[in-house]
Symmetry: C2
Subunit: 287 residues, 2 copies
């Protein structure tokens, strides 16, 4: 039984979640995310609790309960000048922060410095903050997949998924990207996304991301597929956030927004007989 069948579809069904990460990061990210949900084919998104624009996104989320909302568990802040840290006081999770009380920029720093206790406290606090705001999450995933930066952190991520009865994003490619052994962490019966796609830098630099995404859509295989995008606008705010970081930068995010709100993309989906599915639907089926 492949993943499509497990979710109640024919085994040849090309299932796809088009997922917007990083809601809450900035005003630009928030506006692009809601527009991509409203006008585009993005059908699920996740929100970063520790970010400065979280409150605005929470207001938007509460006004738009029709869209699947996940918790984008966050343990890193990769930006040079736009810095944020834990939702908990830094004195309670001192191993998660740099000299200024901000998250580390890289997974490697997180892996070296963070204690599992602090990781669990902070992730739990992020979930509780979302619930305290009255949000009703459908799933959880992780910013930069940093929950995979250490095997112990990944176990915490799995435990929290179970405790809060929310599906979590588990995928072999992402695990390999962050240096985790999939076999050691995936048990039989765990729900796993078969294939995950994220824009790749060489494509962005050469022909732009649209060509890359189009090729993915035209070559999608049956099972559970997930495209992770980061819609925002190539404007001053996002340029400031992502300064010296062209990978996932402002222009990159604009390309994500443009492609996944274009009519042409919707036609490709139709032509390729791609079946969009949401995290909320997956959660309900897995229950």
């Amino acid at each position: 039984m492949n993943t499509a069948q497990r979710l109640g579809f024919d085994k040849n069904t090309k299932l796809l979640i088009i997922h917007a990460d990083d809601a809450g990061l900035s005003h630009s990210e928030n506006m692009a995310t809601i527009q991509a949900l409203e006008k585009g084919i993005v059908n699920s998104y996740s929100i970063m609790l520790p970010c400065p624009w979280f409150h605005e996104m929470a207001v938007i989320a509460k006004n738009n309960p029709q869209y699947d909302l996940g918790i984008h568990l966050t343990l890193t802040c990769e930006w040079e000048n736009y810095r944020f840290g834990p939702v908990l006081p830094i004195s309670e999770v001192p191993s998660l922060v740099d000299e200024h009380g901000h998250f580390f920029k890289k997974r490697e720093q997180l892996c070296k410095n963070a204690t599992p206790e602090d990781v669990e406290k902070e992730l739990r606090a992020q979930i509780e903050k979302a619930l305290g705001y009255g949000l009703a999450p459908t799933h959880m995933d992780s910013h930069m997949y940093s929950v995979g930066s250490h095997p112990e952190f990944f176990k915490i991520y799995q435990k929290l998924g179970k405790q809060y009865q929310l599906p979590i994003l588990v995928n072999e490619q992402l695990m390999q990207m962050v240096g985790l052994d999939p076999k050691a962490h995936i048990k039989e019966g765990d729900f796993v996304i078969d294939r995950t796609y994220v824009g790749e830098f060489p494509y962005f630099e050469k022909e732009g991301l649209a060509t890359y995404y189009q090729s993915i859509l035209e070559n999608l295989t049956p099972g559970a597929n997930l495209i992770l995008i980061h819609p925002a606008f190539d404007e001053h705010e996002m340029q400031g956030v992502t300064i010296n970081h062209p990978n996932f930068g402002a222009a990159w995010r604009q390309q994500d927004f443009d492609f996944f709100t274009s009519e042409k993309t919707m036609e490709i989906l139709e032509k390729q007989q791609i079946q969009l599915v949401t995290w909320g639907a997956i959660r309900n089926i897995l229950k």
Copy 2:
């Protein structure tokens, strides 16, 4: 001896500080502030420690030590969707925050809820955070003049100015605006700014702020004058920050930026024989 004489100038000297408040609030505010200092006639600014873009502004400040930098002591966050709170953990200053851990929007709420102990802890933490970042402040003032929302808070403000040997903004009009009795709080020998000017909403709504500012410059009187401006750009980010708040909104801030970076304004200053003075110079004279 009038204030001009006290500062070593002829008694008829029209002294003027053109001061940019709110640095650190947003990327837009930071960019407009540094440009107004570089290209315009703004000669002093102050930085908000609790704001999301503080880190960027601190980096800019350290790269530009030639500009006078004050601490814009912050106890309120007036914005609807862009919310921030104390630099201290909210568990340490619970009386300063709303249900979500953010500062209150209004001085009146601060006055009713905040304890002097929490106010002192938080203000001290803001100053220490600035010093910890390696910043060398020349003065202190207060966002929305909220240090004046209660007589006890104002005494703390005065005490901190003395302890850190930094001049603080004391001005009768501002005190009256927030309901403080100037006589009860100004002792003989205290340094007081004679006249403070801030854009006024009716002017903004009718003819725009330029007419208002021009009139102020053409009618300036001898002594110590201070114009408080809030430069930023009328772009999406600032529109998001200031949503439903046209008073001090994005268009308002763009007008501040435009007027105080225009050549015409520089000509008015020259024609009116206005003597620009900085907080740093005042601090050195008062020592």
